[in-house]
């Protein structure tokens, strides 16, 4: 609508237009009331200016009707705005089911992104148009906030917690990416860009950059290296629960509670295994606090997600990618195994 208006941000996501519509409505309401008050004050000030120093005007106590009128009318308008805003807000926070995952780790003072296919970037985020994208975000240190004005989205990124933000880009281009929550010295340097591409270009970009194997494949490697595999055998026999088919499933805890095995739960299982003990198991799992980085945890989660419920079969580990060049934005280590398609990661939900 306002693409070329220099005092207005670009609209590049599905909700941007809707937020702007409400914004314009708010401007209209504000302009109306501002004009009303300014006119009233100006007209009264001029019309009833003091003409003689002796003048004493007729006094007035007030008016119940008027008080009710100017309380109820703003109240009704406020509630209309609230209703409108709330329904839009629901849309903004509810992640669509078919959203594609990208993982974000913020730290003083950079943004690190991982695509499930294995591509990694710093301060640059490549995304395709035409499909909802979910960012699962956490911070290594202080609170940051991921903000893309062109998408009208923003969400704080907290340590020790996963926050999900989603958007659906509509227009290819390069847009600002800001950290909006003050996070220390280089806060204003914690910026980057979001590069929105046509899906075809995005696929090509993914293929050109994937060099360290998919996140799930890297997760599997970590799973072996860290010795998880010695306890968590696929068939689930022995003293440890199987992780196959775990993701998205309800888990019965020893306390009788039930929790859903989501990202936060798996993360907690790795860092504070004794916080929630699975029913019928002993608290023998060691903590990995301090041994795995936030990014590695995300990879382990991607691996756990990729463990499809089919007995004895793990997904996302077969095949080999021809080793591509490491992209400028990528910090990925040596070549690894093939990417698991994003849909596969969520196939067991």
């Amino acid at each position: 609508m306002f693409e070329n208006f220099p005092l207005f941000p670009p609209q590049a996501s599905t909700i941007a237009g809707e937020v702007d519509l409400l914004f314009f409505f708010l401007i209209a309401v504000s302009a109306f009331f501002t004009a009303l008050i300014y006119l009233m004050v100006t007209i009264f000030a001029v019309r009833y200016r003091r003409r003689s120093s002796e003048e004493i005007p007729r006094q007035n106590l007030g008016s119940l009707q008027l008080e009710i009128f100017w309380s109820v009318v703003p109240l009704v308008i406020a509630m209309v705005i609230f209703g409108w805003s709330a329904s839009l807000y629901f849309k903004m926070v509810r992640v669509p089911d078919n959203a594609m995952d990208i993982y974000v780790v913020g730290r003083q003072w950079m943004w690190k992104f991982q695509h499930p296919e294995g591509n990694r970037e710093i301060n640059e985020l490549h995304v395709p148009t035409g499909r909802p994208i979910r960012l699962t975000m956490t911070s290594e240190d202080v609170i940051h906030s991921l903000y893309v004005p062109a998408f009208r989205v923003k969400l704080d990124v907290l340590p020790d917690r996963y926050q999900s933000l989603w958007f659906q880009p509509t227009k290819p281009g390069t847009y600002h990416l800001f950290c909006a929550e003050y996070c220390g010295t280089q806060h204003s340097g914690m910026v980057g860009s979001v590069i929105v591409m046509e899906p075809r270009d995005y696929e090509a970009w993914l293929a050109g950059d994937a060099s360290g194997g998919s996140m799930a494949a890297r997760g599997e490697k970590l799973f072996n290296q860290l010795g998880c595999v010695t306890c968590h055998v696929p068939d689930g026999r022995g003293r440890c629960p199987t992780l196959v088919g775990l993701f998205g499933r309800p888990v019965q805890l020893i306390t009788g509670e039930q929790v859903t095995a989501n990202e936060a739960y798996i993360r907690e299982s790795i860092l504070r295994p004794n916080a929630k003990i699975v029913s019928a198991f002993q608290p023998i799992m060691p903590t990995y606090q301090g041994q795995v980085s936030e990014e590695s945890i995300l990879q382990l989660i991607a691996y756990v997600k990729s463990l499809a419920p089919a007995p004895g079969q793990t997904v996302g580990t077969e095949g080999n990618m021809p080793g591509g060049a490491v992209s400028p934005g990528s910090t990925g280590p040596a070549p690894g195994t093939a990417p698991a398609a994003p849909s596969q990661n969520r196939s067991n939900q």
């Binding site: 708010l26 009233m40 009833y48 007030g62 100017w70 923003k154 606090q289």
Partner: protein, 559 residues
């Protein structure tokens, strides 16, 4: 309630009697530092907050200079971060919060209700000393290099990662909080117990209602800030981990505690100014306030609702969306009492006798800027728009419209209005008008562009920014220089007027209110004989007032 309108409390025979005024009651430094006279303590506060205002102003100036260009070239990022942090801390805790209550409130609350002093004069003096100790800590922090966490002190940046003087600053804020608790306590007791005979609740000037509401917030809210700051310091010094996620604490808990105080604190800053505006609009319209009870109770409503909306600072923090919606709807509701006030002030002018002296111009300025500040609050209360503008310059613009455009306009309006009472001399009217126009113009030029910047997406607290934001930032800096000069002018002519101003006389504005029935400057005891009040506030005419479109029963409800 009495409908007696005759018999003004003014007693010319007392006014005429020559007595030493409070300023002449002792000249030594000791007579000031050990005084328990509420009027002298008000002056002590005035001097101290003025010093703090200029300190905060220097920080603001440096911030605006840095933002003149997109690159961070004037100072290093660390320095810039310290600048905006110290600007916020000094202006909020050491200037805005004490401004109207501790200066004008201290001076006027006893006088307006016909008392000789506050209920606890020594506690009043203590509150100033407590303030000075807190301010001393702040100045020490500045000397040791400042703090770089933002005035919001968010954990875990403040508890673990910042390497500046957070704990020292925390102690300073903690201590100053007590000065505001003591002031609030004093006002509440005074308003309850020290009213002159006949001064019923509904005859109180609205300035008093506003201060009563403010005092409730001070007494109930400030302890929560104290708790938050103590926990913060303990977390930082002893690593107890309340706000540290890695130790099982919760950084969002800090935000909840902080805003539980700091949102109501916005009303500590604005409510007293609203009280000032009610006095100004009535006096310069020579009219009784339109809808007295509604204006009075809207202050209380704001104070109560103000405690229930803190979560609107946290819509993007990851709090539950249902909490978000609840805080959103409550934030819309808190706008209504403010709207009621604005409408009633405007209606008071209807068919009034309006003159344009400087204080009234400040009242116009207040109404104009507060309206914009309040309406843009609706944008922020609307969750889905707030997601976009939160932590951008839109928010910066919004709260400056409320706190500078509103609170400081009210403070300056009040200072001009009661200056003749405080020092017995007039300020120069022409310069006064010139300054208020400069302030109004400079203010809008500074802060209006920031709304646009915010919606374009410029985050706040940015030391360097993308090029496309420069034009608006240059406008803002230009406006800030005009605004700065605008603030210096009154400072100069107030000092000038101490010697050269025209002698004011007891009531230069022809205002109602007990404070105008004593000489200017008032004697130490305020009143020779305790006044007996027989009429309602703002009785500018002896005629029976009319009611718009009402019957006798609505008349009763408006009294």
């Amino acid at each position: 309630m009495s409908t007696q309108v005759a018999g003004r409390p003014e007693r010319p025979e007392l006014v005429a009697e020559p007595r030493p005024n409070y300023l002449a009651n002792g000249y030594g430094i000791k007579s000031w530092l050990l005084t328990v006279d509420h009027k002298r303590i008000a002056i002590l506060y005035l001097v101290s907050i003025t010093v703090m205002f200029f300190l905060g102003g220097v920080f603001a100036l440096l911030i605006r200079l840095e933002l003149l260009t997109p690159a961070g070239d004037l100072m290093a990022a660390d320095m810039y971060n310290r600048m905006f942090t110290m600007h916020g801390v000094v202006m909020i805790f050491f200037f805005l919060i004490p401004s109207v209550p501790a200066v004008l409130g201290n001076f006027l609350v006893p006088m307006m209700i016909g008392a000789r002093d506050l209920a606890f004069p020594r506690i009043n003096l203590l509150s100033w000393y407590v303030y000075i100790v807190g301010a001393g800590f702040t100045i020490a922090v500045v000397i040791f290099g400042g703090v770089d966490t933002g005035w919001t002190f968010y954990a875990p940046l403040s508890t673990i990662y910042s390497n500046s003087n957070v704990a020292l600053m925390g102690i300073g804020v903690f201590i100053t909080g007590f000065s505001s608790i003591l002031t609030g306590l004093n006002f509440i007791v005074t308003i309850h117990k020290m009213r002159a005979p006949g001064m019923t609740w509904f005859r109180l000037p609205l300035f008093i209602w506003a201060h009563y509401a403010t005092s409730l917030i001070m007494v109930l809210g400030t302890p929560v800030l104290a708790i938050a700051v103590v926990l913060l310091a303990a977390d930082r010094i002893f690593q107890i981990g309340v706000f540290d996620a890695r130790q099982g604490g919760d950084p969002l808990l800090f935000q909840h505690l902080f805003w539980f105080y700091s949102h109501p604190a916005v009303y500590i800053m604005i409510l007293p100014s609203m009280g000032v505006i009610s006095e100004l609009v009535t006096c310069f319209s020579r009219k009784r306030i339109f809808g007295y009870t509604f204006v009075a109770f809207s202050s209380l409503a704001i104070a109560v609702y103000g405690f229930l909306v803190w979560g609107h600072h946290m819509f993007t923090s990851g709090q539950s969306i249902y909490a978000g919606l609840l805080f959103s709807v409550l934030s819309f509701l808190v706008a209504i009492p403010s709207a009621i006030k604005v409408f009633n002030w405007s209606a008071t002018m209807y068919k009034g006798s309006i003159s344009y002296e400087t204080p009234m111009l400040y009242a116009f300025g207040f109404i104009g800027l507060f309206t914009i500040g309040g309406l843009t609050g609706l944008f922020l209360a609307a969750t889905s728009v707030d997601v976009h503008v939160h932590d951008t310059y839109f928010v910066v613009a919004h709260f400056h419209y409320i706190m500078v455009g509103g609170a400081i306009m009210g403070f300056l309006g009040g200072m001009h209005f009661w200056w003749p009472k405080i020092v017995g001399r007039m300020y120069p009217e022409g310069w006064g008008k010139f300054a208020v126009l400069m302030i109004f113009a400079g203010f809008n030029l500074t802060f209006f562009p920031q709304f646009v910047l915010g919606y374009m997406g410029m985050p706040r607290r940015y030391h360097a920014y993308p090029d496309e934001f420069q034009v608006l930032n240059v406008m803002s800096t230009a406006g800030a220089s005009i605004l700065g000069v605008g603030y210096l002018i009154p400072m100069v002519y107030f000092l000038w007027s101490l010697r050269f101003g025209a002698v004011a006389g007891p009531n230069p504005w022809g205002a109602t209110g007990l404070e105008w029935t004593t000489p200017s400057p008032p004697p130490t005891e305020n009143f020779d004989v305790t006044p007996i009040v027989t009429e309602e506030a703002y009785s500018y005419s002896k005629e029976e007032p009319e009611v718009v479109g009402g019957t006798q029963s609505t008349r009763a409800s408006l009294r």
